[in-house]
Subunit: 327 residues, 2 copies
Amino acid sequence: MRVVITGATGFLGQKLVRKLCEKKTLAGADGSQQAISDLVLFDVVESPKPEAGGIAIEVMTGDMTEAATLGALFAKPADSVFHLAAVVSSQAEADYELGMRVNFDGTRGLLDACRKQGNMPRFVMPASVAVMGGDMPDVIQDDTAPTPTNSYGTEKAMCELLINDCSRRKFVDGRVVRLPTITVRPGKPNLAASSFASGVIREPMQGDTTVVPVPKDTELWVLSPRGAIDTLIHTHELDATKLGTSRIITPMGLTVTVGEMVEAMRRVAGDEPVNRISWKEDPAIMNIVCGWPGRWASTRAKTLGYKADDSIDAIIQAFIDDDMVKS
Amino acid sequence: MRVVITGATGFLGQKLVRKLCEKKTLAGADGSQQAISDLVLFDVVESPKPEAGGIAIEVMTGDMTEAATLGALFAKPADSVFHLAAVVSSQAEADYELGMRVNFDGTRGLLDACRKQGNMPRFVMPASVAVMGGDMPDVIQDDTAPTPTNSYGTEKAMCELLINDCSRRKFVDGRVVRLPTITVRPGKPNLAASSFASGVIREPMQGDTTVVPVPKDTELWVLSPRGAIDTLIHTHELDATKLGTSRIITPMGLTVTVGEMVEAMRRVAGDEPVNRISWKEDPAIMNIVCGWPGRWASTRAKTLGYKADDSIDAIIQAFIDDDMVKS
């Protein structure tokens, strides 16, 4: 089977590529495991080629909102698409047209290309906690209406609806999964409001100082990078008949406070990294982050076999094992 | 002030035009009532010109998904837009690309045109009960997630999100109102699955026979044409500061069974019209209509001053007064 990954150079994209090269199979149209013959790594910049053990790797670059690029990408029919490409929240907020073009039109273009193939490929897109905001219940239920308070969340929520309809119409076998905040991301701090959610662990563990811009009791709903990859693949593998009329899935995550994350780091790695943390509230960041929902019922996800990480301690240990830069 | 009405030749469009010509004012940017100087009646076909009592009427035709048409429509800045134009549910279901182009791209184009004006016009769009379907709670709450099971409902639900975001970004002062099933519509039966909701009253009252394709205990959530016009104007007039972070409003409607509608007609007009009704269940129509929600909590609408009709009897009397063709 031919598997297309958009946003393949991103940190989740690269981890997904490595995981699929190890796993070597995915559920096909009839639900049975089929060998991955071709893996297409698409992004605006060129993806490195992984060790692929017999899988043919194609690296493609371009702007997926251009018809010629989509034509090339789907010149051979895809059996599965993992659509990870997106403009991040701060970019989509700064440039409305860019966000709409990439996050909404880009997704719509991929769905149209899949429709024209006529083979109803599986189509997996991550959505986000950003579909919620503003006036919300204390615990987000599976049937709570999206209330995005940023353009990124709006674009993702519109894509959720469109993927659901394209699945009902049998253009694709679509699945959307609302990923929790991913921690601990490898790499450097960035300008995302949620940067601290990884930085509070990553920087001290790697020997650097960090300033946390929110109160210790700020609740986050989190998943490790390992958990995110497992969640994406589990979403792809689900039997469509178990999804009923909604292809929009809230998966499992852990609700933790930032203070609990720090205490977990103390249990795993002692006082030394904890002493590299200072706390200084930043109203601009609090204004965004403290509006995210920390508690999700995930009622359906439990029956669909989704799994959260065992504990925040396990998330920190996974970072040490998988991604930490050891000096 | 300059007011643009799209879909102006439709039955609601024509009633709205007449009402605005009588009312002569609408809330302006500062909330105070301002004289309507220009009323622009836009549709794919030419609208008749109403008696306008001093208001300048412009009739424009074209395809609102074309840039040149939008350019002409917004050559002078609009202060308010009532966006009623849409491809109906059966058409949108039969032709996916047409539905997306008119119902979604058309709305997006209008919002873009308003954004480029820079004056944050009020922008009112009706949505529909069709944003709900499939697996739903018994009573739809204001924060129940849309679960459309047709493309029309999907397109309207995507527009709801987009209008909300464009309002948050201050491109427009947008308001979406989910109109109940409108009964009694004037005119002839049509191919809409909901045609019977008007036909069960209209045909017998006008001396014709009719066949009702659903059981007597089928629940509908209804509003009269008068109520729909009042609801659209009330939505326009609302103080934006009362809307919080959501511009998506479920208004007030009446929950009635088809059997109760018939008994109301007996109270208003006697046995004679009732005797023109026969009942024959049509599984194809039941499959669609019996999936619509009949009960909506409308919690927020009560605090925002929305009103349903007093009774189904009053709805029938309004039909007799306003629209019934007397032989």
